[in-house]
Amino acid sequence: MESKHKFRKELELYLHIPFCVRKCNYCDFLSMPAEEEVRRHYVNCLLEEIRQKGGLCREYQVSTVFFGGGTPSLLAGVQIAELMEAIGNSFSVASDAEITIECNPGTLDRQKLLFYKNAGVNRLSIGLQSALDRELQLLGRIHTYGQFLENYDLARKMGFENINVDLISALPGQKTEDWEYTLRKVLELRPEHISAYSLMVEEGTPFYEQYGRDERCREQGGHPCYLPEEETEQEMYRLAGQMMNEKGYRRYEISNYARPGRECRHNIGYWRGISYLGLGIGSASLMERLRFSNIGSMEEYLEHCRGLGKGTLCFGSQSAGEFLGEQSLAGILQNAPELLNAEQVIALDKKQRMEEFMFLGLRMTEGVSRKEFKERFGAELEGVYGTVLQKLCSQGMLEQKEGRISLTEEGIFVSNYILSEFLL
C-alpha cells in the first residue's frame, strides 16, 4: 500500500453505490431499490473499473475513499471488503487515508461492521436525519430512532471512533423545539462529526409535489403553510451553531460541524479543488483540470462492462496498452472519453478555476486565502473581484481577516446569492 514514489499527487476516491431499501420522500440522488443479482453485477463492474482506472492513476496517491449512495451499507460486508481490496491493489493508498462509508440505521449488524473494520474502513457516516420517529416517517425513512441508537452503540463498541451523523432541519411542520430535541439527543452521543442540512425541496421528488408550491411562496417572501417560515429556519440554523459550539464542535463548512481534528477530509477536498475520481454510475470527477462524470444509466454501465477481461479498458473495446504510455489520462478523456465511461468532459479554463476557487472555498468557515489565490492564478484577488468584494463586505456579507475572506453569519443564509456574484 505504501507509496513507492515520494511526491505523488493527492487523489480522493468516491464510489457510488446507487442502491437503497426504498427511496426517501425528499431524495433526488441517483439511487434505487434493486435485486441482489443486480447489486452483485454492479459490484463486479465497479471492481473492473477500479482495476482499469487505477492503472491510469499511477502518479497519484489516494488520501481518502468515500462510499456514498444510496445506501452503501445495503451491500454485503464482503462486497465492501472486495472493493477495498481492489482499491488497495490498483491504487497507491496512503497509510493514514480516511475511509468512510455511508450507512443507514437498520442496515448495520455486527458482521458487516467487522468486514468494514478489517477492510480498513475507519469512518462511518450514519444518516439519522431526526431523533423523532414521526419526522422520520414523514421523510419516508426506513428506520426508527431506536434502531439508530442500537447501530450507533454497536459501532462504538466495535471500536469505530470516527462517526458522522447526518441531520435535516426545517422539515414540514417542524418547530424550533423539535429541532432542538434532535440536536440535544445527538449531542449526548458525542459523535465526532455532525452534518446538519436544511431541507431542500427538489424537483422530481414526492416532497416537491407536496411542498413545491409552498417553497416557492416562501422564496417570494410569503408565508408558507407547511414549511417553516424563513425566520424559523434561520433560528434553527443559529440554534444548531450555538448548541454545537457549547459542546465543543466547530462549524467548518456551511452545514458541517466537527470536534477538533475530526473534519471530513474527503469533503474538504471538494471545496479545495483537490483531484477526485468518481467510480460507479453518475459519479463526478475532477482530474487534470477536467471535470467529467460517469454515465448515469445503470443499463449502459452494466452493458459496457459485460464480457471484458482483465488488462483491457473495461469500458471499451480497445486495450489499455494502446493508450497507456502514449496518452495521458487527460488525453484519453478529451479524445476518447467513452473508453473511460466518461461523459460531459469539461476542461476548466482559468476563469472557471478562479470562479470555483471562490464559490467552493467560501463555503468553508476559514474562507479563501488571498495568498493562495495569487499563487494559483498569478493575479491579485482584488484585481479580479475587487468590486464584488467591496460591495459584499460593505453589505456585511463577507469579512476579511488575516489575509482570508469568508462569509459572515448573515452571508451564510444567502450564500447562493453571494456565491453567484463570483461568476465572472
Binding site: 468516491y14 456514498g68 452534518s195 442540512y197 436544511s198 431542500m200 417570494q220 417572501g221 424563513e230 425566520e231 429556519e233 434561520q234 456551511i254 452545514s255 458541517n256 469533503n267 471538494y270 477526485y276 468518481g278 459519479s283 463526478a284 470527477s285 475532477l286 471535470r291 462524470s293 460531459q344 469539461i346 470562479e355 470555483e356 464559490f359 467552493l360 460591495k391 453589505q395 456579507m397 451564510i412 443564509f413 444567502v414 450564500s415 447562493n416 446569492y417 453571494i418 456565491l419 453567484s420 456574484e421 461568476l423
Partner: protein
Amino acid sequence: MAAIDQSKIRNFCIIAHIDHGKSTLADRIIEKTGLLTSREMQAQVLDNMELERERGITIKAQTVRIVYQAKDGEEYIFNLIDTPGHVDFNYEVSRSLAACDGAILVVDAAQGIEAQTLANVYLALDHDLDVLPVINKIDLPSAQPDRVIDEIEDVIGLEAQDAPQISAKTGLNIEEVLEQIVEKIPAPGGNADNPLQALIFDSVYDSYKGVIVFCRLKEGRVKPGTTIRMMATGAMADVVEVGYFGAGQFIPCEELSAGMVGYITASLKNVRDTQVGDTVTDAGRPCKEPLPGYKKVNSMVYCGMYPADGAKYPDLRDALEKLQLNDAALQFEPETSIALGFGFRCGFLGLLHLEIIQERLEREYNLDLVTTAPGVIYKVHKTNGEVIELTNPSNLPDPAEIEYMEEPVVSAEVMVTSEYIGAIMDLCQERRGTYISMEYMEETRALLRYELPLNEIIYDFFDALKSRSRGYASFDYEMKGYARSELVKLDILINKEEVDALSFIVHSGTAYERGRKMCEKLKEEIPRHLFEIPIQAAIGSKVIARETVKAMRKDVLAKCYGGDITRKRKLLEKQKEGKKRMRQIGNVEIPQKAFMSVLKLDDK
C-alpha cells in the same frame, strides 16, 4: 394618355366605426371593378403594413384608382382614399376627407351607429361631402337593417331608405354601391387652366423615389419639370414624376389636372417638408392663397424610450430617424435618465401611435426597449411670467417657482346602451370628467358628452370603458384646449433614491391612489435583495405611500452534492442570469419591466 373628362371622376372615401367593415368594403370594390382578380387579392389590400393587417386598423392613408364600367355604359374613374380609423389620427382623417367630394358611410347592420360613426359623419359634413350610407353585414343573424336605417335618419338626418344593404364579406349588393357612387357622389370641380392648387393628404418616403406626395388637385395642373412650392413649409422642388395609384403600386402618367387624385415625386429628402394639409402650388405661377384648414400636427403624448442594452443607443437613433421619414408626426429628441441612461423623449399623436412606433421599433429594427410612462404636455406658468411646455416630468421646476399649471382637456363623446350609463358616468367622474350633456339617440342608447383631462384617458381609459360596458360603449374625442389644474409631481423612491424614470405628473386628488398602486406594483416586480428595500411614493419631500420588499432571508444551497460541482455551478449561473435583465439603481436591481408596469395600474 388622353385627357380625362372631369365629369367621369369620383373622389371618395369610406368612413365607419372601427370593425364595421370599412377595409373589407374597399377590398370588395377593388375586386368588383376588376383591378385585381380575386386570386390576386390579398385580404385587405389597402392595409399593407404587416402591423395594420394584424391589428385590423389603418394607420396610413391609402389610395387607389379604379376604373368602373357603369350601367349607363360610361367608364368612370374612382379614386378611393382609405383613411385611418383611429382618433389619434383625426387630423389625417380630416385632410383625407378634404381631398374627397363624397363619402361612403358604412354602418354595421347589427351594431348600428357608434361614437366614431357620428364623429366621422360630422367631420365629413364639415367638409361639405355628400354622404352615401351603406348598411353592411346584413348576412349576420343579428342584423336589423330597418332599425339601422331609422337610426341613420333620426340621429344623423341622412336619407337612408335606399341605402344599399350589403355584405362586404360575401360581396352581396356591391354593384349597387358602385352605381350609387356614380349617381350620388358629385364630380369634382376646378379648372385645369387656373394656377396650381393641390392639397397634400399624405406623404411617404420611398428609398428609391424619395418623398412621394399624395395630393388632390383642386385647380391647375402639374407635370414633370414643374417647379413646385409647399405654401406652408416653403419647400421648393422640381417635379420628377407624377402619377396615380394602382393597387399597391405607383403608375406614372404625363400630368395631373384639376379634380384628379395622384402623387408627385420631386427632389425632396424629408417628409417633414411635405406636411399633411399643406398646399402645393406652381412656384412660377402661384395660386393666390393656400387651401384652408392647414395646421401643424403636434404631438400630444410623450414618453421616454431607452434601449434595454445601452450600447444600442445609436441603433435606436437610426431606427427613429428612419421611421420619421415616413411619419412626420413622430418627434424625438435625446435625453438622459439617471436610471436608464441615454435615450429619447418621443412625441406621438396618441397612445395608439406610441404603441405602433414601439412595436415597429421592436419588430422591424429588432430593438429591446424600455419605455417610461406616457404623459401629456403640461403648461407650467412660472412666477416670473415664463411659460414652459413640459414633456418630461423630471424637468418640472421647483414648486416655489410655479405660479400654476395647465393640462390639456378633450371633448369626449361616449355612446352607450342605457343599462351602462351609470357605470360610464362613474368612470368619467373618477377620471375627473366634467359632465356636459346627455342625449338619447333612441330608447336604449344614449350619447354622453364629457370634458376629460387628456392625461386621464391616455393610459387605460379605453380598456376601462370597454370592461365596464361589456364592450357596448364606443368613444371618440377631440382636443379642446388647456385648463388650469392642481397638478403635482409624484416621485418614486426606491431604497431612498429617487428614480427619475418613474416620476410622473398627476392630479393632486388622485395622487394618493396612484402612489399607492405604483408602490404595490413595484413591490411585485422588484425581486428580494440582501437588504430590505423601501418603495416610497412622494410629493416633494412628503411620502404618501410606502411598501417594502422584504430582505432575502434564506438562499442557501445547504445540501452537499458531493463532487457534483457542475450542478452547483448551473444553479449559480441560473441565479446570475436572472440579475442580468435588471437596471442597477444605487444598490437595487430593478427589472426592466418594472418601468413599464406603471402603465398597467387598471382599477378593476
